[in-house]
Amino acid sequence: MGAPAIKSASGKGISIRGSDIDTDQIIPARYLKAITFDGLGEFSFRDLRFDGEGRELEHPFNDKEYQDASILVVNSNFGCGSSREHAPQALMRWGIEAIIGHSFAEIFAGNCLALGIPVVEMEAAQIEILQEWVESNPGTEIHIDIVAQKIRYNEQDIQVSIPESHRKALVDGIWDTTALLKSNPEEVKQISGQIPYIK
């Protein structure tokens, strides 16, 4: 259906600690004033990475050791707040290809799926261990098996979970929904004709 099947993701890990990391932290609202998503990557976590005078602060996204990381490891309720797709867009344009966390805000997870970014849920205690590992071993390769719902790092396999509809959409290459939804205009028209308030 026009979207590639995504059955796995591999890359170096990067850890961002903290629960309830909201979309305003991921991409501050003032960077939303653009009519395209181009160039958003460099504004990921902007206010946590730079102080008011533009001086670099300590942050994993500033750390040289993690510049080519692509698997983000986070805690719970990541991406809460606004429905802005700018948040996953910014992360994707920075280089993130998949996210592993304890839990995700629903709209954020949906927006990730629409971009083909798998979001993978893992037990809180396991997340902590993975974060420590990533922090003390920069350059760690993490492999995500979306079909089997497992991740592999440091020579061990850990069970994870991906919401079934997301998993199926990724694996079957049907996460680009526009093509799918555009394939039955007659049926859509017919249903709309049965809805009482549609004239």
Partner: protein, 467 residues
């Protein structure tokens, strides 16, 4: 699984088919658009040489970036001007109705739909904005969507969505004086958490909800999203119908009202509907709420003490410590007496007529504390006009408030209305996230409009019941 709820009925009535990924394709009855999240979607449509499938079911307005002082064009902020121009040309090209600043109908998108009667019971409503949940107050299924989904809806008037669980939130008891819908929803979020609603839609009901005005119902549904729920709704009743009758959609066409009434009645949740779970709260125990932290779940009653992070669930501790450092508050203290620099009455949570009236009652004949910057930003041009006809603007201005033009303003500070440095703001909006109001050191305390009014007068967080 839920059965016989409004959610189930409206969902089934709009379902086109089940998709291969297990989600459903849902028809969208009303698509609302604003300038921030739509240009990229229009761009994608153009790129793929597609057209807007149902422009007549799509309405646009401008709210996030619009200046509230000087709206002369071009806007002073180039980027804001560019977004505005882009929305104008996109809507013109696609033949979509656009309520711009010259129309008299412009305002925060979640105020505009309800006040014009575009928002109706039993509809599916989407908008590229998380507070689309507001429209659920009318018994609509209303979801915030991302830009890719906006593209889907523009191209097909349908979207792919997985079915959620339905949680009934039963609100009992009676609200005390100066205790409002805002305090109810802040209490719900405090108890269920900012992620308590993930995977759920909230149905609010019970005696206290039945008694609420449409405005109050909108405030509650509005903040469903802060509770993690994708949507929230309230079954339509006489209060809903009264509101609808007085909108131009049905004033112009009263027959239409009679035609649609049976449908509206038919989609109400059944008496014996099945819910995935039920949560109860008692209004008698609610007092005016204020937040002490940096998530909307970090709230307490005005006479309560700020909690010790150690007393909270383990998963909440670390963010509570971070929040208390940011807010510079100490466990055991109260929020009462917390000095403020700014008072903001506005946002899609609380910028309707009843909000302004309640705040006015507090400030009438009093003066805003000398060190406080106070502003009122009506939710829409219509609200602004109605308030001026009642003379509310004069009362606000005489007491020292700025009376502004309609928009989102300091709710998210995408225009010039921003906190500076570490200013503290008593705010009637919905999010106290760090940086939300324009300064990363800014401090936001969420509360009802009457509480904001009281804080503005005293120059500090205060109990509105004692002013």
């Amino acid at each position: 699984m839920s059965e016989g709820t409004l959610y189930d009925k409206v969902w089934d009535g709009h379902k086109v088919r089940e998709l291969p990924n297990g989600q459903d394709q849902l028809f969208v009855g009303l698509h609302l658009i604003h300038e921030v999240t739509s240009p990229q979607a229009f761009g994608m449509i153009r790129e793929k040489r597609m057209e807007v499938a149902y422009p007549e079911l799509t309405h646009a307005t401008v709210d996030h970036i619009i200046p509230t002082k000087d709206q002369s064009r071009p806007f002073k902020d180039d980027q804001a001007e560019q977004m505005m121009a882009e929305l104008e040309s996109n809507t013109l090209e696609a033949n979509i109705k656009f309520a711009g600043p010259d129309s008299g109908d412009q305002g925060i998108v979640h105020g505009v739909g309800p006040e014009r009667g575009l928002t109706q019971p039993g509809m599916t409503i989407v908008c590229g904005d998380s507070h689309t949940s507001t429209h659920g107050a009318f018994g609509a299924l209303a979801f915030g969507i991302g830009t890719t989904q906006i593209r889907d809806v523009l191209a097909t008037q349908t979207m792919a969505l997985g079915r959620q669980k339905v949680r009934r939130i039963e609100v009992k008891g009676e609200l005390g004086e100066y205790v409002t819908a805002k305090d109810i929803i802040l209490t719900i979020i405090r108890h269920l958490g900012t992620d308590g609603g993930v995977g759920h839609v909230y149905e609010y009901g019970g005696p206290a909800v039945s008694k609420l005005s449409m405005e109050g119902r909108m405030s509650i549904c509005n903040m469903s999203i802060e509770g993690g729920a994708r949507a929230g709704y309230i079954n339509p009743d006489e209060t809903t119908y009264e509101w609808l009758k007085n909108t131009d959609t049905f004033e112009k066409d009263p027959n239409r009202f009679e035609e649609l009434l049976p449908y509206w009645e038919s989609i109400r949740s059944e008496e014996d509907a099945k819910y995935d779970d039920v949560f109860e709260i008692d209004c008698n125990e609610i007092e005016p709420m204020v937040t002490w932290g940096t998530t909307p779940g970090q709230g307490i009653g005005i006479s309560e003490e700020i909690p010790d992070p150690k007393s909270l669930a383990e998963s909440k501790r670390e963010s509570a410590i971070r929040a208390q450092n940011h807010m510079r508050v100490t466990p055991g203290d109260k929020m009462e007496g917390y000095k403020i620099d700014v008072a903001f009455i506005g946002s899609c949570t609380n910028s309707r007529m009843s909000d302004l009236r309640e705040a006015c009652k507090i400030v009438e004949g009093k003066t805003v504390a000398s060190n406080v910057r106070a502003l009122v930003v009506p939710g829409s041009q219509r609200v602004k006009l109605a308030a001026e006809e009642e003379g509310l603007d004069k009362i606000f201005i005489e007491s020292g408030f700025d009376w502004r033009l309609a928009g989102c303003s300091m709710c998210l500070a995408m225009n010039e209305d921003q906190l500076i440095g570490d200013e503290a703001c008593a705010s009637s909006s919905n999010r106290n996230f760090i940086g939300r109001q324009g300064s990363k050191d800014g401090r936001t305390i969420l509360m009802s409009p009457a509480m904001v009014a009281a804080a503005a007068i005293k120059g500090e967080v205060t109990d509105v019941r004692r002013i």
